[in-house]
């Protein structure tokens, strides 16, 4: 985070933001009209918990409608309200621009600038949201080096975190989405962000990106899931986004104690197997699936070691999502019975917001 951590502190985590107002307790709903107004004005600042991302664009449509659907439970930040002279603070900056030359009008394209630099090839103009999501993830993965960033689905219950590190294609996002629809708090489907000072998992709440067959799997698994439109023909096939539940968004500054590590692997036709793994295997998996393990040096080493030592360590192989979620719920209940729930751990700058247990 560019604002920097206040220091190596004990609980609760202290995060400095300069300048930064307290988050709104009851944010105004994020409507498409409001998103359009902010995109074309001072910028839409999305507070993800781990980072605040400012998005600007002269392309109000279809960007506004797509963003408003996926981020429906986020409020536009108070400091972006009209009449507030202070510019909204943001850690990361994204700009959505029209295509260059003829591609502005003929088969129009949209370009993404990350902190002023072009990081991706242009996308078709109708695919604003997938481009924005990939761009934001890319930028978070490159910049947020005050935390150990694992490629992992991360959820919480009762203040404790379930961490699922995995390679792409392992069913991580599908499993994360399924658990979210069953009441788990979403911290992230992409980032397991561990604060080295406290050892706690920090939320980075964004829409869950589902790809190809996973989209219909989740529609069948949870018909009431708040899934946005499907974007066909992207570079990763068809993509749809599950909006984070309001409770997860409200708790995006609530850290969670790492409790259970599960390395998931979807395997067609397999029976569900859930088995313990060795600490050595868990260490290797975490270090391998970290975006910035090498960049953090000794801090990354100590943080991974701390995670391995404090979590229960398991591997899940599955093909039946219903069975897998039930087995995880049962394991979680068994582990929770052996350990009392930890105290809520709000971040210091959010102390005014009512704590929300995951």
């Amino acid at each position: 985070m560019s604002a920097g951590r206040a220091g190596e502190t004990a609980l609760p985590i202290e995060v400095s933001r300069a300048p930064g107002p307290p988050a709104m307790a009851s944010p105004a709903p994020l409507t498409a009209d409001r998103v359009a107004e902010l995109l074309t004005g001072s910028g839409l600042v999305l507070d993800l918990g781990l980072a605040r991302v400012r998005v600007r664009s002269p392309l109000a449509w279809p960007a506004a409608a797509q963003i408003a659907t996926a981020y429906r439970h986020f409020g536009a930040d108070a400091d972006a309200e009209p009449g507030n002279a202070a510019p909204p603070w943001a850690d990361l900056h994204l700009d959505l621009r029209p295509g260059l030359g003829l591609r502005r009008w003929v088969r129009p394209q949209v370009r993404l600038l990350a902190d002023g630099l072009t990081a991706f090839e242009p996308f078709p103009a109708a695919q604003v949201l997938p481009l924005l999501e990939w761009g934001a993830n890319w930028l978070i993965g490159r910049r947020m080096n005050d935390v150990l960033l694992l490629h992992a689905g991360t959820l919480a219950r009762d203040g404790r975190a379930l961490l699922m590190p995995a390679l792409p294609g392992s069913g991580k996002s599908t499993l994360t989405a399924a658990l979210v629809t069953r009441g788990w708090r979403l911290l992230s489907d992409e980032f397991g962000a561990c604060d080295p000072a406290s050892g706690l998992m920090r939320p980075c709440v964004k829409p869950v990106a589902l790809k190809n067959a996973s989209i219909d799997v989740i529609r069948r698994f949870a018909p009431a899931a708040e899934l946005g439109p499907s974007f066909e023909g992207t570079r990763k096939g068809t993509v749809a986004h599950l909006a984070p539940p309001a409770a997860s968004v409200a708790a995006r500054h609530q850290a969670a104690v790492p409790a259970l590590l599960v390395i998931p692997r979807w395997q067609a036709g397999s029976a569900t197997t859930l088995e313990p793994i060795t600490p050595e295997s868990a260490f290797t998996s975490l270090a391998f699936n970290a975006f910035n393990y090498t960049a953090l040096g000794a801090t990354g080493f100590r943080t991974v070691l701390g995670l391995v030592r404090r979590m229960a360590l398991w591997r899940l192989v599955y093909s039946d999502l219903e069975d897998a979620t039930q087995r995880l719920d049962a394991l979680w209940s068994q582990l929770a019975a052996d350990a009392p729930a930890p105290a809520p751990t709000p971040l210091a700058h959010d102390a005014a917001v009512a704590p929300h247990a995951g």
Binding site: A287, A298, L305
Partner: protein
């Protein structure tokens, strides 16, 4: 003559040990014998292959001459991994 690389971290992990080298940025799972060699290098500052063989012989009861090949090979591996340095003679 060999010395430990500076800043190497060695931590127990279940039945093995983890060693991190700030020099290479690499992490390695190592066994008890490797830890004995690295900790001796850290404590003594430097040591020769013969010194380390004598140390292992004392700890294991095996003749020092039987450990030469293993110790020399381990030290070469440690140097490549950034866990140890080869000092000029």
């Amino acid at each position: 003559m060999y010395a430990a690389a500076s800043g190497v971290l060695i931590e127990p992990l279940a039945d093995a040990w983890c060693a991190f080298s700030p020099l290479s940025g690499q992490t390695h799972l190592i066994n008890d014998t490797s830890v004995a060699i690295l900790e001796h290098l850290q404590a003594a500052g430097h040591a020769t292959v013969a010194d380390l063989c004598a140390l292992l012989a004392e700890e294991t009861g095996q003749p020092a001459t039987e450990a030469v090949e293993m110790v020399a090979g381990a030290l070469n591996t440690f140097v490549l991994a950034g866990l140890a340095r080869c000092l000029p003679a």
